[in-house]
């Protein structure tokens, strides 16, 4: 009877196990935690028999089908594990391997550092190593890189993909920020915004007016000022000679009406109130349609990140017209009308190698950026009477093209006899 009873009991237990396990799986994902009351409420255990429940749970846990955890609010709780996974557990040769595998399992998509495993389990390094080796061979776990800790050896369950946090999102390849990919995409996005937010027109080239050539650095030129006879001192300059190239507000005359004026393509700003400046959604769609990013999926948020960077670079600016928030290129007139990818091709063919290839217009300049002192590495030290001083400044000599000035030429008199 007794033996029969036990056999009967274990058969009954098996049925209850299966019933409870199936019912639990109906009630939520692998991450859901079930407290004791939750399990009783599933109405599988007859008469709400807690002892029976505990026995069933114990049996399931032994089969690795349930995982027990201590939860802050509910106390002890359980979540279920798939039968396949459970099989992996039960197939493992020893307890150590099980413990290592379970700790990697718990770490989930973020992965875990091998040192952390060792410390948490308080095991000998060699043991951990062996376990890991075994698991890797079995194909249960895989090593991974985490961008936040690029030097740490991390492990993850082989069936999982590393989380965004670990991979760093679409901008990372193998744990490294993929700057080539980013700048490529930036140039495409910029090109798109440029052509969509500015009007491609042509402009007559005013004859010889230097200021019209887009983005060129102005070379200071002398103002046409004659010095009167009243120069105060012989070797000194007249007051008036301190001049500037302060561009006079010379307007563009309507040379376009004149027939022989040469015209060139330029981008022109759109009229005020233009409401078709591309939005992030449109840019994202464009990028998607081009298929450039075939193996990475870029969401709108990712594109927004890219657009923000372009904004911070000062290449584009947000414009809100009505409820539409679009982006437009800054300094439209100064932009290159040749598409960026063409420029890249040209470069491959060896054209324009003397200039760096960057998207957008050349930065503005001012008196400080043009003068040697503005970029001088020893500016802080430079002082008349000090070790570096304007009077022995080599940068200025270069700037003035005086580098090779011969010290006093042969004959020592200035005038011929």
């Amino acid at each position: 009877m007794a033996a029969n009873g036990i056999a009967d009991d274990s058969a009954k237990l098996q049925i209850l196990k299966d019933a409870l396990y199936d019912e639990i799986r109906q009630h939520g994902s692998e991450t859901r935690l079930f407290g004791q009351q939750d399990l009783l409420d599933l109405n599988i255990i007859p008469r709400n028999d807690v002892t029976l429940l505990v026995r069933v749970i114990q049996a399931l846990t032994d089969d690795k089908l349930l995982v027990g955890t201590t939860n802050h609010h509910a106390g002890l709780a359980w979540r279920w594990r798939s039968r396949e996974e459970a099989k992996k557990y039960t197939s493992l040769p020893n307890d150590e391997t099980v413990m290592v595998y379970s700790i990697i399992d718990e770490a989930g998509a973020d992965g875990i550092w091998n040192r952390t495993i060792k410390n948490r389990l308080n095991m000998h390094e060699a043991v951990v190593k062996n376990c890991i080796k075994y698991l890797e061979q079995k194909g249960y776990i895989a090593s991974m890189k985490n961008v936040e800790h690029p030097n740490k050896k991390m492990y993850i369950k082989a069936t999982l993909r590393p989380s965004e946090r670990a991979t760093g999102g679409p901008w990372f390849t193998e744990g490294e920020l993929d700057t080539a990919f980013i700048s490529e995409l930036e140039s495409i996005v910029f090109e798109y915004i440029k052509t969509k937010s500015a009007y491609r027109g042509s402009q007559a080239q005013p004859g010889g007016a230097a200021s019209s050539s887009g983005g060129a650095i102005k070379v200071p030129k002398k103002g046409a000022i004659s010095s009167g006879e009243a120069t105060p001192r012989g070797t000194k300059r007249a007051a008036t000679d301190i001049s500037t190239d302060d561009a006079s507000p010379a307007p563009t005359l309507n040379t376009s009406r004149g027939g022989n004026a040469k015209s060139r393509a330029v981008f022109l700003p759109m009229p005020a109130g233009y409401n078709q400046y591309p939005t992030v959604a449109e840019i994202a769609k464009f990028i998607h349609d081009t298929g450039i990013t075939n193996n990475t999926t870029l969401g709108e948020a990712d594109i927004q990140q890219l657009v923000d960077v372009l904004t911070y670079d000062g290449l584009i600016e947000p414009v809100r017209v009505g409820r539409r928030r679009g982006y437009r290129v800054t300094r439209a007139m100064k932009q290159d009308t040749v598409p960026f990818h063409k420029r890249q091709k040209e470069r491959e063919a060896g054209i324009g190698l003397d200039q760096p290839l960057v998207v957008g217009a050349e930065p503005l300049s001012n008196g400080l950026t043009e003068a040697p002192c503005g970029r001088c590495p020893v500016f802080e030290l430079c002082e008349e009477g000090g070790p570096v001083s304007p009077s022995n400044c080599v940068y200025f000599l270069q700037w003035l093209d005086l580098e090779d000035v011969p010290a006093a030429v042969a004959p020592n008199v200035a005038l011929p006899p």
Partner: protein
Amino acid sequence: MLVTKPVTELCALLIDELYGELPSRIFATLLSKGKSTLPQLALHTSMTPRQLRHGLAVLQQHNLLFYHLDAGAEFASYEANAEHAYNLVRIGKILEMIDSSFGAPAKDVMQNLLLSGQTRISDLVAAYQEKIEQANMAAALMGENGEVGSEANGVNGDSRPAKKAGPFVKSTAHLNSIICRLVEAELIDVVHPKTFESPADILKVVEKEVMDKYFPAGVKGNKAKVELQQRIAEGLRKVRGESKSLKRKLEQNGSAAKRRKLLAGLSGMTNGVHDDDMDPSLDPKQVIRINYEKCLVELRNRRLVQFATDMFSETTAYVYGVLLKLLTKDLPRCRPDPVMDIAEDEEENEKKGPGFVTTEQILDNLKTSVDLSLGIGKAEKRHISSSAAENIRQYPPEKKPKIEEAEVDGEASEDEDEDDEPSGEESDHDTDYKAPMMNGINGVNGTSGAKVKFDESAGPKEQRMDRPTQLRQHLLLLAESTQRFVRHCGPNEWTVDFPPLMNALREVELDSVIERTSGRQGLRLVRILRAKGKLDEKALPNVALMRKSELQQKMLEMQTAGFVDVQEVPRDVKADVKKSFFLWFCDVDRTLDRLLDTSYKTMVHCIQVLEALRQKEKDVLETTKRTDVRGREKDTMRKEYYERYSRFLECERRLFAQVARVDDLVSVLRDF
């Protein structure tokens, strides 16, 4: 203007450059020792009183000194006028500005005034009389043939023979009229006894007067304090007004309005147009000088036009220039005086600010040769939201509108901002870009003219827009810009909010320095910090999409350059550096201050380099001073020497040009 060491150095160098070493040394002493009397100066400079008097006279003549004589005191005390000394660097720019706005003859007059310092009108007339007679005689003698030997004098190989179109100033009547025009434009004003008192002294005197007259029993209570402030401001304004006495006199004259109108035209006036005899003759005893404050207003206009050219087309910038010219015609200075002009607010609120200009006024002043269809792209009408474009902002930014309904409108658009804002982060890019609620404003203020007008002129039928519409397009574009070049403050009314605009320009200047020194990525990082405030070093790479190592290096580089700062926040009491947070931030004002300082130093260096070059080429320069060489350098000098000489001239030219370029930056940072 804060007089720092580089400023002192710069002023001394400038004065040395123009007026020689003696005045320069006195000036430098005055700057470093502060207010001094003659005996004190003698002590500090170890010069003889004779030398000192001579030097002081030169400085005085050029308005580089303040002096004050307390009643009963034996010696007057002198003080350096650093502001004016610095202005010497702008002389070239001012002359060029006069040239393009008032024509060559006016420039010539201005130049004389600059060379001789403050001048009695009669002296100026006499000098010109002589010149004119000489020129007439020479013209009569030479007729058409021959060229006057170019009178290159001293080092200046560039002096342009001034004979092409005869003398610039044709007659004393012409001279008179030029002065009248410059006085009316406030570019020249009158010297009066108080001109030579330093602002601090004037304040003291006015304060005393006010106290004696209105508050003999002392000031009690807040109300009296306010009144005191007002009275002082009034007194100061009266003093300031004295230098405009000549202008007022001219305005009382009947023909002033007509002359003004001619003056307003931007078209460089040709000599023939203006009837010189119409102008009243000026009191020959008046002493006149250049009014730098007003000159700066003009220079600021030009800088803004340049700014607009950088951002838009030249056509738009030209329109902007006309607008600015009209708007600032009666604006006496770039920045209001903190004491005088703020008190002014209270009483005459209406007169405050530059006022506005109407579309018609601008149209009337545009050159007919300018094609307004240039410089703006075309778009289909349905792609233009005219309500957004025509959005009227009655009040300057930040200032709360006074009409309640308008305020509601403002809030409404703010709500909208939040609506489709993915996150609050970027909001600072377009906080100033409020969604337009055109109709609301129309309703509230009853200014429904704008929209109707636009629809009329841009009717669907026509392909080519008429000129007023074209003009409006440029103006609206300026108004829509992120820099806020223009504010559309009423239907067909336009104004400029200078303070925020100048802030934008300052930021642009700073950005170009950053981009040129630290690259685009450097600029990116700074602008991120500017937008987000303090940011943890760990958060930066993700926002900037930069590699951590590169970013750290860039940040350190920029910290050294003074563009960014870092703050270490320990995580716990142990303050373990490894665990600390590093918060980066940028203090724009501090960076700008540093930029200003760098600019001064750069200018000083330029001049010092020139001085070193002079030393190096001393033998050549000595030679060119000889009377038998002067003016005939090319023929008389050995080839190598002449080449060295001309190379030196080229360097000198470039260095001065560079100083002027740096001054452009200083003006933006400090004065505009």
